[in-house]
Amino acid sequence: MSPLDRELQRTLAQRASSLTPPGDLLDGVEREARGIRRRRNSLVGTAALSVLAIAIAVPLAMRNAESGDRDPGTGFATAPPSAAPSTQAPSPATPQRSRLQWGFRGADSVGEVAGRANQAWTLDHPATESYHPLYSGTLPDRRRIEVFEAVESTRSFAVFYVEDADGSSGRIVQGLEVVDRNPQRPAQGKQSLTRLPQVSAYVDGPQDFVVIIGAPTTGQLEFSTDGRRYTTVATAEGTGIVAVTKGEDRAAYRVRVFDGDGVAVYDGPIDLLSED
């Protein structure tokens, strides 16, 4: 340990010890918790009206919700372009329940960013009835990322939205349909959907990243650029962001998800379909 290390240690300890204990925090904590719950609920069906005439074509990846049934070769399909942009906001009167039921993870969800993200999705998906925030965070290059579930009456999407650090522009980079499309294995309601092990997206820009949102039961994430050598992804609450190199073969990317008991629950490609 160098002299600087020692002095730093002593300085921090001294400053910390000089602090008087906090007063009663509970009232403020409980009040703020009620506010958080209110804000989260208010995100449901609050996409604003828009007159933007720009259609954002978002390819959709249809996927099998059963964790063990996914076929890397055929597990995805591009949906036809969705309906033309609409100025209709979803009705907040009949919000559909989240089908993933993953809850929210990440940093503070900034209301304005979440609202713009929901709005961008609504342009192309006017049938959306409710939004459920899944993750909010900042990419290493300072862009803001919002991941949310957009629920329609008969289907549900995990949507990745990225916005510049200054909020000047944002776009949907991925929308993944999470309902079971295999008629031989119909979704068994909530149970089968909540077994979805991860949703992930390739996010390009000044720097490129793969963003992986693991199910809440995720214990560890691993990532490989070639399907042979895997590295553990640093995660916070089962979510991870991996910096990747432009020009790599994205089709070769692989993700492994382990649950809290160390059991592999997913080993397959990232969800590759994106806007470009």
Partner: protein, 180 residues
């Protein structure tokens, strides 16, 4: 949330909030910011308490929230003035022979660091976490932790002008290795 869970949360806050406040204070440099940060993080924890309580280490969960929330607070206040260190609530009587000046200089130098760099140093030198644990807490790779720590220490050494001033006037042999 039932009454038993609520009581459990209250017990957790009562037991751990002093330590968490100290960490928050070292990360923010401001008592008021630290209290705001802790309150917000505990509020988020309360919302998720049903899940958090079953985790091995709820305190680590709160700490991770503080690190993430800190970034949010910073974005919210990014147009405000830069960090200015608070004086400690009371003088430390054990601080003597000019150590106080040295520590003040280091504390001021810490305030010039970026948030993540500062967080890395706090977790490493105050919490005593390993690089892997810091990486987990910050949601970054171990390599990032190493590079952030290295840059932070280099920045502190660059601020050695402050330390040099102290060294020049006081017999602080312990700082002899602190050079840029």
């Amino acid at each position: 949330m039932d009454d038993a869970m609520r009581e459990e949360f209250r017990d957790f806050v009562a037991a751990r909030s002093p330590a968490l406040l100290r960490t928050a204070y070292l990360m923010t440099g401001q008592r008021q910011d630290a209290e705001d940060l802790l309150q917000t993080s505990l509020a988020k924890t309360l919302v998720a308490w049903r899940r958090v309580r079953s985790a091995d280490n709820p305190e680590a969960y709160v700490r991770r929230l503080m690190l993430n929330t800190r970034t949010s607070l910073w974005r919210r206040h990014r147009h405000e003035a830069g960090p200015v260190a608070d004086p400690p609530d009371r003088p430390d009587s054990a601080d003597h022979y000019g150590d106080a000046d040295l520590h003040d200089a280091l504390w001021a130098a810490l305030a010039t660091l970026g948030r993540r760099q500062r967080a890395v140093l706090v977790l490493r030198y105050y919490e005593g976490l390993s690089e892997a644990e810091i990486a987990d807490a910050l949601g970054v790779s171990v390599g990032t932790v190493k590079s952030q720590a290295s840059r932070a220490l280099a920045a502190l050494r660059t601020n050695a002008g402050l330390l040099d001033d102290v060294r020049a006037t006081l017999p602080l042999s312990s700082t002899s290795g602190v050079t840029s």
